[in-house]
Amino acid sequence: MTKAKIHQASNAPAAAPAHEEGQQHPIKLYLVVWLLLFVLSAGSYLVDYADLQGLLRWSLIVIFMLLKAGLIVAVFMHMAWERLALGYAILLPPLAVLVFLAIMTAESDYTLGSRLIFFGGQ
């Protein structure tokens, strides 16, 4: 009974109270994000241009990268305004890549070690 009702409701767009038309956001928001992406890209290019090395280099690269990725997904791809069901379905599975990354880091350490032992670093 309730099930039928829900199904009916989801099939009747006319009954929905004035649903919004697609994703409508002020143009200013897009321009600000656009500008931020430019600034962040310039920042990551300057890391290379200034020839920063070591911990500072890769922490800056990763921070700029994650900020850029976050802005693109959240604002340009509208994920910030989508329902959580979609957000979790899309954004959580890639975390498995981090596990794979950890496994391959250990594996390549091992490979490097055996190459150094058996091929004398050639």
């Binding site: 656009w34 890769w58 604002v75 069901a85 899309i90």
Partner: protein, 240 residues
């Protein structure tokens, strides 16, 4: 946004059987993503699978680079251009990055105009996006020719670890292919917008009802994803 669920019943009110029924059942009944059309949900799921493909390329590049006993060629020097008597490090890649970000910006504006039903602006912004994308691919072709002329091959190069070439051609090649297909689809959708097909009321695979401009947003999702992948390639392959 209009409800995407469409009842596919035949004249007597029965669900169709056979292959048609199979397609109808899979395309309409069950919905986990409320208020998200199938087109958009499927694009997101495609992008998720693409995320794994590019992740695996980047992880394999990481494995090759961290397990080789030879020095990895310095991207900063390999991708430098000789301009005005000085070598400017990574300059072409920086320009490519800015071009791709600009194209993402014009795409976002195109989506915005599409939902405001500004047909002409939408089409023009999409064509601008496609032009920037084509410029990106052009610069990539230039970069490839330059490196190939300098002797970079998938199995070796003059500067160090031989895996450099394999990683470079695989990762940038796959990304460039994505950009190229994006340009083609942008032009297809832009021409449909320009001709007013989404206002005609004719149902098609891109348009459910009169004034349905969601296809532009879905196209935008793909395009922003291409930019997103470049963010990671830029950080890990060129800057690391």
């Amino acid at each position: 946004m209009a409800d995407a669920t469409v009842k596919r019943l035949d004249a007597s009110g029965q669900r169709p059987d056979g292959l048609e029924g199979f397609v109808a059942d899979w395309s309409s009944d069950q919905r986990a993503f409320k208020k998200v059309s199938w087109g958009k949900a499927m694009m997101w799921i495609f992008l998720l699978s693409d995320t794994f493909i590019f992740s695996i390329f980047l992880v394999s590049y990481m494995s090759a680079r961290s397990s080789t006993t030879e020095a990895w060629p310095s991207a900063s020097e390999v991708f430098a251009l000789h301009i005005g008597g000085a070598d400017i490090p990574l300059i072409l890649i920086a320009i490519m990055t800015f071009v791709l970000i600009s194209s993402s910006g014009t795409m976002a504006m195109a989506v915005n105009c599409a939902y405001r039903k500004q047909r002409r602006n939408t089409a023009l912004l999409m064509i601008a996006t496609a032009a920037l994308g084509a410029a990106f691919v052009g610069m990539q072709a230039f970069e490839w020719s330059k490196l190939i002329a300098e002797g970079v091959r998938p199995w070796g190069n003059p500067w160090g670890a031989p895996q450099f070439g394999a990683s470079f051609f695989m990762i940038t090649g796959f990304h460039g292919t994505h950009v190229s297909f994006g340009v083609i689809f942008l032009l297809i959708v832009a021409s449909k917008v320009w001709k007013g097909e989404f206002d005609s009321g004719r149902r098609s695979w891109l348009c459910r009802e009169k004034g349905d401009y969601e296809a532009v947003e879905i196209m935008g999702l793909y395009w922003h994803f291409v930019d997103l992948v470049w963010v990671f390639i830029f950080a890990f392959f060129y800057l690391w």
